[in-house]
Symmetry: C2
Subunit: 199 residues, 2 copies
């Protein structure tokens, strides 16, 4: 479109190919890149390639790592008897940020979704079952998102794991801290009432 | 933050350093990159570097180009007697998209803004004056944005150029096509009335 340079269009196209980045934003980012020092642009480019080449899944829990096992799996101070089951490695970041959870994780890398043709075989379930059989796991916390797919996956897996003599739990539903009752949906309010605790 | 991989944080930081990209978006983009083929990531990285290295300013109009002169300046069919003066090269794209303008351009690469310490000396004004003296230019259209700085720059430059015997014009103010009168600000409505045309 810019008759002055074809490369700028290629750069804009690259940014625009990223999810949630429209053409206008891609244009803004491209012009920003052109204004940066060449060293900074090279750093960005190198980290893109390095990250893609070196980051892989932990062979135990499928969290992201640059080594064979991730730092959480290698951490001797973590309680390996409790496994928090999440959809994606990024969910592990969220739980780690609370600083409260001392157990370990397992990332499924997806949720069961028949509508999208994703069956249990597409997820890292086999690895989880192997861990349960060999690592003395006592509890699996289902920490998938509170969506239809997240629920279905949690139920599917608890039915699979419970018969193995493992305690399976689901993260609690309720009103978000700092949230307003007025804007909380009916189902969440109902769950918050149902799961009320004595104080 | 993700104890599994330090590289992923570096990648997220790179994206988060771009303007208008927050941490959550940077995270989303980073995970997207990890899911791409290595070839696609390398292509992205290479275009980043190539664009930064090869794209420069046209030596005549300061539009973006990979050559000495941009394609518009080299285009024999363009009317070189009319120059459309814009703030940034991206504004040239906007005018080119209309498909109606047949003149050439000049990009200032900024606007006069005393508040930000940007004086006329920081803009590509010298090159414009040289063009006026040597290229038989008859009209300069001030197409800077309708902001305080855009207005000030347009007025400053027209006072500089007009005495050289050059016709200086300003793009028209009025209601945007498809806009609604109800939501048009008072000043724009006033300008639209003032600049009414016989039909």
């Amino acid at each position: 479109m810019n008759k002055g340079s074809l490369l700028i269009n290629k750069l804009i196209e690259q940014f625009a190919s990223l999810p949630g980045i429209g053409w206008k934003t891609a244009q803004r980012l491209s012009y920003y890149i052109l204004k940066l020092d060449e060293g900074r642009v090279k750093e960005f480019a190198n980290i893109l390639i390095e990250a893609k080449q070196k980051i892989k899944n932990c062979e135990n829990c499928y969290n992201l790592t640059e080594e064979k096992y991730c730092k959480i799996c290698l951490d001797e101070s973590r309680d390996r008897k409790i496994v928090c089951l999440v959809e994606m490695p990024k969910d592990i970041i969220s739980f780690e940020k609370t600083g409260e959870y001392k157990g370990v994780y397992h990332a499924l890398h997806g949720l069961i979704s028949p509508m999208d043709g994703i069956g249990p075989d597409k997820l890292y379930i086999k690895g989880l079952l192997k861990r349960i059989q060999t690592q003395g796991i006592e509890e699996v916390i289902m920490a998938t998102n509170p969506t239809v797919e997240g629920e279905a996956t949690a139920i599917y897996l608890s039915r699979l794991i419970k018969p193995m003599g493992i305690k399976t739990t689901r993260i609690a539903y309720g009103i978000p801290v700092g949230g307003e009752l007025e804007y909380t949906d009916d189902l969440t309010l109902y769950k918050a009432l149902e799961n009320r605790n004595e104080i």
